[in-house]
């Protein structure tokens, strides 16, 4: 190795190492530690014997973990399904309409993005107040003469999760809207002109030209929705509570994980082993679901 190579190597190390050390200790090391910890029994913060996959068996097969876990996972699936169906569809529609330069589009573009910047905590508490039985929404329904529609929005087992998801959509729909707007704005104008001259209809142009060309941004939004749905926590914490009330109907893997790690599944002491196993499951689900959607949407991508 020449002195020149050595100098170059030292410079590279100087530039790269501070960041790399932080990423490795705070992101990658904890990931492997989760895996490692999940294979041991734990007494509070002390690691005990190697137990193989026992902690995973508990999560998937032993009460009360099993019921709690499957219930929470079901709610995460609900988050994903409703967010895809309502938020991302609405986002695509908003993005498309804004790309057509309707009057006031610059203004609307800025307005729908406002709540994206607010913290989940502030939005959750604000809407939590509005959705209380004596809150603004029920007050509005009464004023509008539809007292029959008044509900305990966060107190009814069948409604609570959906109310919280809708609040989250209120906060976040501006994000997919602007991502889709940017993608549609990048569709080459010649393609659209040509289609117009051929007399193609609005719907046909959207389905046949725009949609295939914005598949990469659909992939990005889908993956972000998967990650977001599996990590729901603050929304439940602020609008319902750590136990996912009423009667665990709003519980998610995030809140269950937090209770297992720092409290317990049905109140008690922290369970590091089972908690780590749930953490590993979150990692795996995120990873597998993201890869699957990238792979399946990737095949639909077209190049110009």
């Amino acid at each position: 190795m020449t002195a020149k190579d050595l100098r170059k190597g030292l410079w590279i190390a100087l530039f790269v190492l501070p960041g790399l050390v932080i990423v490795c200790t705070v992101i990658l090391l904890p990931l492997f530690m989760s895996l490692f910890n999940s294979l041991f029994g734990w007494n509070q913060l002390l690691r005990g014997d190697f137990v193989g996959l026992d902690n995973f068996r508990k999560v998937f097969g032993t009460e009360p973990y099993k019921t709690r876990f499957l219930n929470a996972l079901g709610n995460n699936l609900r988050w994903f399904a409703v967010t895809m169906a309502v938020q991302n569809t609405l986002g695509l529609l908003f993005g498309y309409l804004l790309s057509r330069r309707i009057a006031g589009h610059e203004f609307f573009k800025r307005v729908i993005f406002i709540p994206v910047l607010f913290s989940i905590v502030a939005v959750g508490f604000l809407w939590g107040l509005y959705l209380r039985p004596n809150g603004l929404l029920n007050g509005f329904l009464k004023l509008a003469g539809r007292a029959d529609l008044m509900r305990a929005w966060l107190g009814d087992e069948r409604l609570a999760t959906f109310s919280i998801i809708l609040v989250n959509i209120w906060r976040w729909v501006g994000f997919p809207s602007l991502v889709f707007l940017a993608a549609i704005d990048n569709v080459p104008v010649e393609c659209l002109e040509a289609a117009y001259l051929d007399g193609a209809r609005e719907g046909t142009i959207f389905r046949r030209i725009i949609l295939p060309l914005i598949v990469p941004s659909i992939t990005v939004i889908t993956v972000l929705t998967i990650i977001g749905s599996l990590n729901v926590f603050e929304q439940i914490y602020t609008m319902a509570g750590l136990d996912g009330p009423p009667n665990f109907s709003t519980d998610t893997i995030g809140t269950l994980f937090y209770r297992t790690a720092f409290g317990s599944v049905d109140s008690g002491s922290p369970e590091i082993g089972v908690g780590s196993a749930i953490g590993v499951v979150i990692y795996l689900l995120t990873f597998v679901a993201s890869i699957l959607s990238i792979a399946s949407l990737g095949r639909k991508e077209v190049e110009l």
Binding site: L20, V111, V179, S217, A261, T286
Partner: protein, 284 residues
């Protein structure tokens, strides 16, 4: 290039459609503004007024609630904590992130792809799921209840996207600039500092907004790591405040206004940068 892509044609059906779309957008804008306006108006009302006349204007403009929440309830301190913790985290995200981006994009060496992938792996991994080992790590480093714990986590959270975005921009800086500087006797650090960084300055502002907003808003890590009241950040402070005063609606709306309005005002002046910053990571 932006497509000029207005709705075409002008039959009565087309006109009705456009009017319906405009009406829908105006209704949606109202759905965003009204809850915010009601929040601010409610902060001037008494709890009694809020519950009995939720849609009425406040009977007087009384700022005493704000004084109570800001001083007595500690929001002034929460606000300052959020501010300096975000600033300190961002300073290191930008410094270490730009250095790492320079290290992987401006040198040719065998391990550069591996280093780049190590940084990128952080983009997809949900850091919250690693809270148990992180908690044990911080405990062993004796950082529990010290702001440095969350600052470290925030730096790690910001680095992957920063390296990703900045290395893209740095690759595009012409090598000729670097050669010229080297002939003039500039060191590697000098080239990073005086040639490459000024050229990618617009990307720096983009990365700043992209990362500062989630760090400012983050709730989970301060909740776990910072337990004593003196270090609480705004989202955590807001949470304990809601726990203590759950029936005093008047104070609750004041606390929310203090949490929400500064961001709103900042956004009104810098909307363009915010929009570009928040969407750039996803679009690239």
């Amino acid at each position: 290039m932006t497509t000029d892509f207005r709705f075409r044609g002008s039959g009565p059906g087309r006109k009705a459609l456009i009017i319906a779309i405009e009406a829908a957008f105006i209704a949606y804008a109202a759905l965003i503004f009204y809850p915010l306006a009601n929040m601010v108006l409610s902060s001037f009302k008494t709890t009694r007024e809020i519950l009995q006349k939720p849609f009425a204007l406040p009977s007087r403009l009384d700022f005493s609630n704000y004084a109570v929440v800001w001083v007595e309830k500690g929001f002034g301190r929460y606000f300052l904590n959020s501010l300096w913790i975000t600033a300190a985290s961002m300073a290191f995200v930008l410094l270490f992130g730009s250095m790492a981006a320079y290290g992987v994009s401006r040198y040719k060496y065998r391990l550069s792809t591996l280093v780049y992938m190590l940084f990128l792996s952080g983009i997809m991994l949900p850091l919250k799921a690693a809270i148990i080992p992180l908690f044990i790590l911080m405990k062993n480093l004796r950082l529990i209840d010290k702001p440095l714990s969350v600052i470290l986590v925030f730096i790690a959270m910001g680095l992957p996207s920063t390296v990703f975005i900045l290395s893209g921009f740095m690759k595009a800086v012409p090598v000729d600039l670097e050669y010229a500087a080297r002939i003039d006797g500039c060191s590697d650090w000098g080239i990073y500092r005086r040639i490459v960084m000024p050229v990618v300055a617009p990307a720096i502002s983009l990365v700043t907004i992209y990362n500062a907003v989630p760090i400012w808003n983050d709730f989970f890590f301060p909740l776990v790591f910072l337990q004593s009241d003196r270090w609480k950040t705004l989202p955590v402070g807001l949470t304990s405040f809601f726990g203590q005063h759950s029936t005093n609606w008047s104070l609750l709306f004041t606390g929310l206004s203090i949490a929400v309005l500064p961001i709103l005002f900042l956004y009104l002046f810098m909307a363009k940068y915010f929009i570009r910053g928040m969407t750039s990571g996803a679009v690239k």
